[in-house]
Structures are given as structure tokens and as C-alpha cells.
């Protein structure tokens, strides 16, 4: 009996939660709408939140060519500041993430992006881990008792 009551309570709770979730997911659509942005004190003012978040996420993905072990977000060196400005101007112009990365790669090489391109020379890097796990899983399921 006790077990049953618990189950009942759980069901009710679940229903309430699902309702609430639906409700907030609906309201979410509204809150994502671009609101009034107050940017007079911003170092990098944007007219839209999408552009702003693109800008800051790019700073985290781009490598500072001078300090080398830091991204642009984490560096205050003069070259980083110049590159931030460059990225800022490109974002404001409405360039996409891909275009901006290409723009910088054309000048600084692939070194400048922390995410290596997918090309024949990097196939091992990108697909190696997954091939390795599939292969070893296969081997282990087939012959697990003999080798381990």
C-alpha cells in the first residue's frame, strides 16, 4: 500500500513538472527575443545579442599568436587587442563565424584557431578516437575471455 501511495504522489508530481516545463519552454520563446540592449559602457557595443555572443565565443576559440598558450579572451597583449578589434569589426559587419575564422586563418594560418580543420591530414585526429573505441569494443565483445 505504501509503495502504491508513493507511486501516486510521484505521478502527480511528474504531471505538474511536465506542465511547468511546457509553460516555461513557451515563455522562453519570448525571453529570447532581442531586448533593449544598453551598451553605452560596453567595450564592444553590439546592436544584437546574437552578435554579442558570437563575438565572445569567438574570443574563446581563437588563439593569441603572441602568447600562444592563451586565447584572445584571456590575453591583454597589444596584438590580442588588435585581433579583438578585428573580430569585433567583422562581427558588426555581419560576417558569420565561419567567415571570420577563414579571414583570420588566411592571415595567421590554422594556428590561430583552437579547433583544427577537418582535412585528410587531420582525419586521424578527428575520427581516430571513435574508430579506436568501436574497434576495441568489437574485439572485447568477441574475444573477451581469451585475452584479458
Amino acid at each position: 500500500m505504501k509503495e502504491c501511495g508513493k507511486k501516486n504522489f510521484l505521478n502527480i508530481l511528474m504531471n505538474k513538472l511536465i506542465l511547468f516545463l511546457l509553460f516555461i519552454i513557451c515563455s522562453l520563446q519570448v525571453s529570447v527575443e532581442e531586448g533593449q540592449v544598453n551598451f553605452d559602457k560596453d567595450a564592444y557595443p553590439f546592436t544584437s545579442e546574437t552578435k554579442e555572443s558570437l563575438f565572445y565565443s569567438l574570443l574563446n576559440e581563437l588563439r593569441c599568436p603572441k602568447c600562444q598558450s592563451s586565447n584572445l579572451a584571456g590575453s591583454n597583449s597589444p596584438i590580442s587587442n588588435d585581433l579583438k578589434r578585428e573580430v569585433y569589426e567583422l562581427v558588426v559587419e555581419g560576417k558569420s563565424s565561419r567567415q571570420i575564422k577563414d579571414h583570420l586563418v588566411d592571415r595567421y594560418g590554422n594556428f590561430i584557431i583552437y579547433n583544427p580543420p577537418i582535412e585528410p591530414a587531420t582525419y586521424a585526429l578527428w575520427f581516430g578516437p571513435f574508430i579506436l573505441i568501436l574497434l576495441s569494443a568489437l574485439v572485447i565483445i568477441l574475444v573477451r575471455k581469451r585475452i584479458i
Binding site: 599568436p65 585581433l83 595567421y108 585475452i147
Partner: protein, 173 residues
């Protein structure tokens, strides 16, 4: 078969050690330039010596040439200055300067005092042309061949040895 599987970890690890050993030899920590064999980027910047004179790519006419990125805050630039003067005095090739994020007065002072190896210096206070060239520090030196293509870049002090190893071959093409 079993023996081969047992020896596998050994083989893999031994090859890793060999690979790592080969990486140990002294490493050149220069960044490659992405601009090899591409034409010199467009720019529109003032001249260091004459504010009113606007320079563009069309002003770089005496080819082949070196483009040297320099600044007064850069200590290593002073080290290579005599070598650049020598290149100029022996009329080996033209050198254009790219004065990078510098104080104009100090820069002109330095050229006055130590001599001016440059045909002219582009004044790039904001580092705009520098970004288009993929510059990440000073000094840097680019070789532009007679067709206006970038053929080589050197990061750091340029001297007799670097000139012989990296640049002189393009001059004799």
C-alpha cells in the same frame, strides 16, 4: 598469435618513444606564414615621415624588396638595424619599413640618429596592415619577389646568417 598480442603494447610504446625522441631536436618556434606565394595585401595608411602622404600597395614598386616590421619599443629591432643599413648601403635590395604600433616622434628620432635603411616607412599605429600580414610581433621581415608575391617571412632578428639561409636564394631567381 597470443605472443603477438602480448608484444603489441611494447611495440606501440617503443614507437611512441622514438617519435617523441625525434621531436626533441631543437624546435623552430616560429609560426609559419599563411601568406606564402600570395600577393602583398592592400592597405591605405599614412607615411611615417609625412603624415599627409597616403601610401597604398601601388607605392611598393621597387621589387624585389624586403618589408621590415619595426618599432622603437622593440629591442631586437635595434640589433638588426646595422644589418638593414648594410643591405641598403650595398644596394642589395630595397627595404620598406612597416612602423608598428609606435610613437611617431620617437620613431623619426631613431631613424635620424641611427640612419634610415628604408625607402619609406608605412605608419601602422593600429596594427591594421600588420594583421593582414599575419604579424604577431616585431621584428618581422617579409621578402616580396619581383612579381609582388610574398615568398618568405622571418620572425626575429635578421642577420647575415638568416639572410643567406632564408632570403638570398629568392634574390637570384
Amino acid at each position: 598469435m597470443k605472443k603477438i598480442i602480448d608484444a603489441l603494447p611494447l611495440v606501440v610504446f617503443a614507437s611512441l618513444i622514438i617519435v617523441l625522441f625525434s621531436f626533441l631536436s631543437d624546435k623552430d618556434d616560429q609560426l609559419e606564414t599563411a601568406l606564402i606565394d600570395s600577393s602583398f595585401p592592400d592597405f591605405n595608411l599614412g607615411s611615417l615621415s609625412d603624415e599627409s602622404r597616403l601610401l597604398t600597395k601601388q607605392d611598393i614598386i621597387k621589387l624585389p624588396a624586403l618589408i621590415n616590421v619595426w618599432a622603437t619599443w622593440c629591442i631586437a629591432c635595434r640589433v638588426e638595424h646595422p644589418f638593414l643599413m648594410k643591405l641598403k648601403e650595398e644596394s642589395i635590395l630595397t627595404i620598406y619599413g612597416l612602423n608598428y604600433k609606435d610613437n611617431k616622434l620617437k620613431a623619426l628620432d631613431l631613424l635620424e640618429r641611427d640612419g634610415n635603411p628604408f625607402e619609406f616607412s608605412i605608419y601602422d599605429f593600429e596594427g591594421r596592415l600588420a594583421i593582414d600580414l599575419g604579424v604577431y610581433g616585431a621584428p618581422e621581415t617579409f621578402f616580396i619577389d619581383k612579381n609582388g608575391l610574398i615568398r618568405e617571412r622571418h620572425v626575429g632578428v635578421i642577420d647575415e646568417r638568416v639572410w643567406e639561409e632564408k632570403f638570398s636564394k629568392y634574390l637570384n631567381e
